[in-house]
Symmetry: C2
């Protein structure tokens, strides 16, 4: 029997959470122009949800990966206690490569994806840095009047006190999407499973498959 | 019963292919210093294999995503018939963000990941552009004597004539890794499945689960 302190999540369950979320987004006519996956955890949901946000005959939505790691998870010797300094960028957006086909983030609908909203620190960093990025581009290109829409999608939001916030207008709208809100347990994602068959059985037994 | 012209692949199967490949890489003492996932198809295997290339107590291997699309798949109106121009970059490496913790690709062991080796065009582009990138960095930093190791990992290599090549020394060594070589059928990856339960059953019936 699965350990009750652990919450086992199967690949098929993640697939269904992405599919369900995509349907809701499409029903609201809020299909994103660009998906930003936070690496590593956001890469898998980002790729999956893209399939279901595609309209027939239209191009795939471009995915940009950004690499963000909590300082503590990088095993770096540091005494960091401010939110602004607790996240390390390991990769950032690359507009150069998109230039020809995608001019900038200004005026776009942007969907930022991670697997879990734990302390909210990483999402806070991603959203505020992307907001700054858009504002910088707006000033540079003198396009101050255009509205850019940032949304966040996570598979799981842990029901716990958060160390950082997201903008209120995001939290009070459909622009913060957690496919599931879960208790503050140890979430076991399938990509870390040593025995994926056993892991899948645990997830089925716990009813989240 | 599944359509015989289609080859259904489950998430759990992909997980096992990544796990098997990681074990082989570790057994050869060829753990990469950096993983480069080709977006979109390479993102999922890149994230999965990272779990199994991790040594206890060591840091996660950094993943960089590069976005490469075949011109024809972008739906762009074009008449491109040279290999060099048939691939569009939608994202490239971002060394700026890694600077502090990772100086360059020079002398590193680099694992490039995609889901499928179909015509080999995308892999050819990725490998030759990354080689150029390394040579540029070597000249710039005057570090011409260091050896950089590029390897390629794909889940599936389609057994068919290829439109482009990879370096011979890569093909004649363990530096080209296809977890499976498969007939030239339509590969159905799970992230495109409308009904993931049915899809998984098809994969099980076809014996690749």
């Amino acid at each position: 029997m699965p350990d009750d302190n652990k919450y086992y999540i199967s690949y098929n369950n993640i697939h269904k959470l992405c599919q369900k979320t995509a349907k809701e987004i499409m029903a609201r006519n809020e299909r994103p122009d660009i998906i930003i996956g936070i690496s590593g955890g956001g890469l898998i949901p980002a790729r999956i949800i893209r399939s279901f946000l595609k309209k027939k005959g239209e191009k795939n939505i471009p995915i940009q990966a950004i690499g963000l790691s909590l300082y503590e998870n990088l095993g770096l010797d540091s005494q960091v206690d401010t939110i602004g300094k607790s996240v390390v960028r390991t990769q950032w957006l690359d507009f150069g490569a998109l230039e020809e086909h995608f001019d900038s983030l200004i005026g776009k609908r942007i969907l930022i994806i991670d697997e879990v909203d734990d302390t909210r620190t990483t999402l806070h960093y991603a959203v505020s840095e992307l907001q700054k990025e858009v504002e910088d581009q707006q000033r540079k290109l003198n396009r101050l009047n255009e509205i850019t829409n940032l949304s966040v999608f996570v598979l799981h939001n842990k029901d716990k006190p958060k160390k950082a916030n997201l903008p209120e207008e995001m939290m009070n709208s459909h622009h913060y999407i957690a496919a599931e809100t879960v208790p503050d347990k140890w979430l076991i994602y399938p990509w870390d499973a040593e025995d994926i068959e056993e892991h899948t059985q645990m997830a089925i037994q716990q009813g989240h498959n």
